[in-house]
Symmetry: C2
Subunit: 246 residues, 2 copies
């Protein structure tokens, strides 16, 4: 049981970046010890909230988002197993976006002092966490670029390329297939489109024999053409980027 906690998805992810010592793994397990089950739709952080917690997703799908004055929603990211959310803003006291889960999920709640302790007592682990946060920011930047320059088709292609690679890295996708419990409404809110146009775009991807989303399963028909369409270079996702001397 203790072993299972040490061998979390996050532990595997960080371990691929810097090999972690048993002591560091124990620190990391302690950081994730406060686990809670959340039901589909449950909201964990509200924008503007103070004294909130950060989270590490253990299983299930989550999303971080902002609500606009006009009621619209922009989804920032979809944290999945091994991903963190709000860890940085836990040091500050104000959350800058909301966080909720899209499926039944298990998440670990992380408090500020706990995180500080972890970083000061295991600085190499701190660096590894910093790398993970850096990766998250790179994903947000990619998302920004994708939305800023690119039509619906390109955005969608890019999104699924990135998702496929992320899921693949944690063993939740094969080359051509993975589960994806995101509704077209949710996808639209992430890609800056309306649900209706999202639908049209998915149809186009299907008709062009590039990708099919059916019954919450994505099937990729032509990876090369899809990658080309998306202008996708996924180097920012994996840990094979060399690291500075530590």
């Amino acid at each position: 049981m203790a072993d299972q906690r040490i061998d979390s998805v996050l532990a595997r992810k960080l371990n691929a970046f810097i090999p972690l010592s048993p002591g560091e793994l124990k620190h990391l397990a302690a950081l994730q010890s406060n686990q809670l089950k959340v039901r589909r739709g449950g909201q964990l952080t509200r924008e503007g909230q103070t004294g909130h917690k950060g989270f590490i997703v253990q299983s299930g799908w989550a999303c971080s988002f902002k609500i606009l004055p006009d009621g619209g929603r922009q989804i920032i990211s979809f944290p999945i197993a091994g991903d963190c959310c709000g860890l940085r803003s836990v040091l500050l006291r104000t959350a800058d976006h909301s966080f909720s889960v899209l499926t039944d999920a298990v998440v670990s709640a992380v408090e500020g002092p706990q995180l500080m302790k972890c970083i000061t007592e295991a600085p190499r682990l701190g660096t590894a966490l910093l790398w993970a946060l850096s990766r998250d920011e790179a994903m947000i930047v990619e998302h920004l670029v994708s939305i800023g320059r690119g039509n619906a088709l390109e955005r969608t292609a890019h999104f699924f390329m990135e998702l496929a690679e992320r899921l693949s890295l944690i063993g939740m996708a094969t080359e051509t297939k993975f589960e994806c419990p995101l509704s077209q409404f949710v996808l639209a809110d992430a890609l800056g489109l309306t649900a209706i146009h999202m639908n049209r775009t998915l149809r186009q991807l299907r008709e062009r024999q590039l990708l099919t989303l059916r019954k919450k399963v994505v099937t990729i028909h032509d990876l090369d053409r899809l990658r080309k369409l998306a202008g996708f270079q996924g180097g920012y996702l994996n840990s094979r980027t060399e690291t500075a001397q530590l």
Copy 2:
């Protein structure tokens, strides 16, 4: 001369977040000691580059951006005096976006080990820097939301609201006026528009008596209506957010 170096724009910014000791200020000054002048248009980091440096802007306007396969450009942010760029990715070895200056500028180059030393020897300063990076990420998220949900007019209003507040915090803007050396091409690349539509949008802002950009000077005519149009809540920019126990 030494005093001037200690009292950098970044030092003032961080000091407003956590009061820094003379020792910490000295560390911070050392971090910024390697200053270089860069001519308008000079490029300091290329995407994908390894062994690159991070930068702290002392004066002038910069921009970080990504170039797409089709030649398009998406500008991520406009670092100005006191802002950092690429500090996080300096720990990794691969730059995830390009960085160049839009006006003649002075920037400090920061190397990985130097930054690490600074953080380990002055952890409170490290926390302050982390806060600054956190603020930068919040700005990117706001940018993403603005582009994802919002038409040209709203995006533009939001952009200038944020810019006004940032410049105001470092004493480079009054309530109604500030310099802005950004061409309409550059603005368009930041807001995900074409330069032509950027022009029409600026005209509309002018005709509606909201804001005028003329000869590189922005004049705000109606702050309230502009803020409403932008849906702008600038709380993420200043340091009045309470901090966790340090």
